[in-house]
């Protein structure tokens, strides 16, 4: 009883913004006609960029490997359409900086012909490592937005003996409904994917947390999970940021992930519902991650809804498909709270892109920031229990160490503090700025240390070379003298022998 009431108790943290999910969430899923070109960035995940293994002019089929994973934490990239590689060059990154990112361009032939796939007939008879290997091969990454390579997480979960898998169907960001749609339309894929992940990590149960503002998704998932008692559907209160892993873990299990620790260390692993569906496709169908559902929403969109499309589609093509009622005042990739502002619409959809928001002028309005009045609203809203006002004051004075003493690194950049701030202070930007500066300082320090090591190594090398030269010269000299002495002796003895013969 206590446990159940705990589930339905509204948490004290977080905010409850108006969700704007409907009518987009209720519109039927639409499929985008194959675009003429796709741009597949080599880095769509956390970790090392993938390395292209195709050349310009090469013909590729849908699902064909075009860039392989590089390093321990990385993910491969596959062709999302069939066609011809026409360019390996730069494209604007789906990143607030708008810097270039290396990408492979494919001119689609319109046939959408899949490469021969290798589905696993009975995946539950396979070894857990085999599921992990298949997920890695398919390039599956966390689709909730973090884009961490899933296979790496599976291996970590297995190593740390995780007992519960938490399936994240929170989708707490306003405007977005791609996870809602996947749970309504393909619940059996999500459940099967969750069971495959449980097999891969050796978990005994899966808790599916779904915010209670998605009753249709809850009903569909309950129906699909009926015959699997180990998969439990758990509605959670609609509260932003419920979809953040630490908050969802706490709501579902009552466990708090310690600062500086990972979720696996408290015996749980969190995976998004869309990630589960891609694991299902990777294992059961052998399909790599080349398509996803993207929410297109916002006041400037004529027909908002969810679109199923190949990765690498340019955002302008998607907006052409849904239509615009006006020129968007702002474009955002992801949700309004944590999404990435985009400079223009010639940016490709990547694996972690859950939505495109085209805001009209009213939605895009950013009020001018005023001074902090120390009302403390931000401290009440912060889901991590931090003091945003204290941190921001220190960062404003360039005192990053001081901000860190208030546990800046525990900030999840959810934006609750900035949302409730009556003075409209862009608190999250302060925190992102400080984190970036501290990271840069750390990197400079490492660089300086490395330079020092290199300089010392060079000095040692030159000393060694000089010593070796001297030794070699001394040796040569000794050899020369020895040879001279020997030659003198030989001439002496030979003189004696000749004498002997003559006698």
């Amino acid at each position: 009883m206590g446990l159940i009431s705990q589930f339905f108790k509204t948490p004290s943290w977080g905010v409850h913004p108006e969700d704007h999910k409907r009518p987009a969430a209720d519109a039927a899923l639409r499929v985008l006609p194959t675009p003429k070109q796709v741009f597949l960035p080599l880095q769509q995940h956390v970790g090392g960029a993938a390395r292209p293994i195709v050349i310009v002019g090469q013909r590729v089929l849908k699902g064909q490997l075009i860039a392989e994973a590089q390093g321990n934490i990385s993910a491969p990239i596959h062709a999302s359409v069939s066609g011809t590689i026409s360019l390996i060059g730069d494209v604007t990154a789906p990143h607030p900086s708008g810097l270039p990112l290396r990408a492979i361009r494919i001119d689609a032939d319109g046939e959408d012909k899949w490469i021969d796939l290798e589905p696993a007939a009975d995946p539950f008879s396979l070894k857990p490592e085999e599921i992990t290997r298949m997920a890695a091969k398919a390039g599956v990454v966390g689709l909730g937005g973090a884009t961490f390579p899933s296979a790496v997480k599976f291996a970590l979960g297995k190593r740390l003996k995780v007992t519960s898998l938490i399936v994240n169907g929170g989708e707490c960001e306003p405007y977005l409904s791609s996870d809602d749609r996947i749970m309504r339309d393909f619940p059996e894929q999500v459940i099967d994917g969750a069971r495959l992940i449980m097999h891969a990590i050796g978990a005994i149960e899966a808790l599916v947390g779904i915010e209670d503002n998605k009753p249709e998704a809850i009903a569909a998932m309950r129906e699909a999970a009926k015959s699997f008692p180990e998969v439990k559907i758990r509605p959670v209160p609609s509260r932003y940021p419920m979809g953040s892993d630490k908050q969802l873990i706490q709501t579902l299990t009552g466990k708090e992930v310690p600062s500086d620790a990972r979720a696996a260390e408290v015996g749980v692993l969190v995976h998004n519902v869309s990630t589960c569906a891609s694991v299902h496709k990777a294992v059961r169908l052998g399909q790599p991650l080349v398509e996803r559902i993207v929410t297109v929403n916002g006041g400037a969109v004529a027909k908002p809804g969810n679109i199923f499309l190949p990765l690498g589609t340019m955002i302008n093509e998607i907006l052409d498909f849904t239509g615009l009622v006006e020129t968007p005042a702002r474009l955002i990739l992801g949700g309004p709270m944590m999404g990435t502002p985009l400079a223009h619409n010639r940016i490709p959809i990547v694996k972690g892109a859950s939505g495109i928001l085209a805001f009209n002028a009213a939605e895009a309005l950013i009020p001018e920031a005023g001074p902090c009045i120390r009302c403390g609203n931000c401290t009440k809203a912060c889901p991590m229990g931090l003091l945003p006002l204290e941190m921001a004051a220190r960062i404003r004075a360039h005192d990053f160490e001081g901000a860190e003493s208030y546990a800046l690194s525990d900030c999840i950049a959810c934006g609750c503090c900035a949302y409730v701030c009556p003075s409209h202070i862009p608190l999250v930007q302060y925190f992102s700025h400080a984190k970036g500066e501290m990271y840069a300082a750390e990197r400079t320090k490492l660089r300086t240390e490395a330079a020092k090591r290199l300089a010392e190594a060079k000095i040692a090398r030159i000393e060694r070379e000089n010593r070796e030269k001297q030794e070699a010269a001394a040796k040569r000299k000794a050899e020369r003298e020895a040879a001279k002495a020997a030659a003198a002796q030989v001439s002496e003895t030979s003189a004696e022998t000749t004498q002997g013969v003559t006698l």
């Binding site: 880095q43 990154a93 990143h95 607030p96 900086s97 810097l99 990112l101 920031a369 960062i395 404003r396 360039h398 202070i425 862009p426 930007q429 302060y430 992102s432 700025h433 984190k435 970036g436 500066e437 990271y439 840069a440 300082a441 400079t444 320090k445 660089r447 300086t448 490395a450 330079a451 020092k452 290199l454 300089a455 010392e456 190594a457 060079k458 090398r461």
Partner: protein
């Protein structure tokens, strides 16, 4: 009243003389801060500060003869560390940190003379005789020692290009002011 004043004064006198004696008899001949300061400097002995090497720069810093902003390759991080160690206040915004610069080789001009790789303190330049040389970005400290020795002016100092990995959010306060 008198008793407490007297006892405190006595204690002060006794402890003070103890400290004075300790300072005299336990004094360390070498200034230990020099070694600590030297450890903070890049150690590439590039000479951009005007001293022969990092050790000499550390001595000057310890004596207070050199400003903490003396080391261009160290950047803001080194300035901050030095200022904290020496207990001096420094206005970081005045530190001209136009981003670290590193050497680049124009491949079409390089004749492969190997002079630059010989002077590079961190072995950041690779190449062999009559082969085009190149700079390993990660290892270059930006000391610009190679620039002067190049006979064909194939080497120049460029800012490190900003990449997605290096980019950081600007401070919102800079936008306000």
């Amino acid at each position: 009243m008198l008793f407490s004043v007297g006892s405190l004064a006595l204690m002060g006198l006794a402890l003070g003389s103890l400290l004075g004696a300790a300072a005299r008899y336990l004094a360390v001949a070498e200034n230990p801060i020099e070694a600590e300061l030297q450890a903070m400097l890049p150690g590439s002995q590039c000479g951009q500060c005007g001293y022969v090497g990092c050790a000499q720069a550390a001595v000057a810093l310890a004596k207070g003869e050199a400003p903490v902003t003396l080391c261009p390759p160290g950047g803001k991080a080194t300035v901050e560390a030095l200022a904290a160690k020496l207990g001096v206040k420094v206005d970081l915004s005045t530190v001209s940190d136009d981003g670290p610069r590193i050497a680049f080789v124009s491949e079409e001009i390089c004749v492969g003379c190997c002079r630059c790789s010989k002077v590079c303190p961190t072995d950041a330049i690779i190449g062999a005789a009559k082969q085009i040389h190149n700079v390993i970005r990660e290892a270059c400290t930006g000391c610009s020692g190679c620039i002067d020795v190049c006979p064909t002016e194939a080497l120049k100092m460029n800012p490190i290009p900003v990449t997605l990995q290096h980019w950081t959010w600007p401070s919102p306060s800079s936008a306000h002011n």
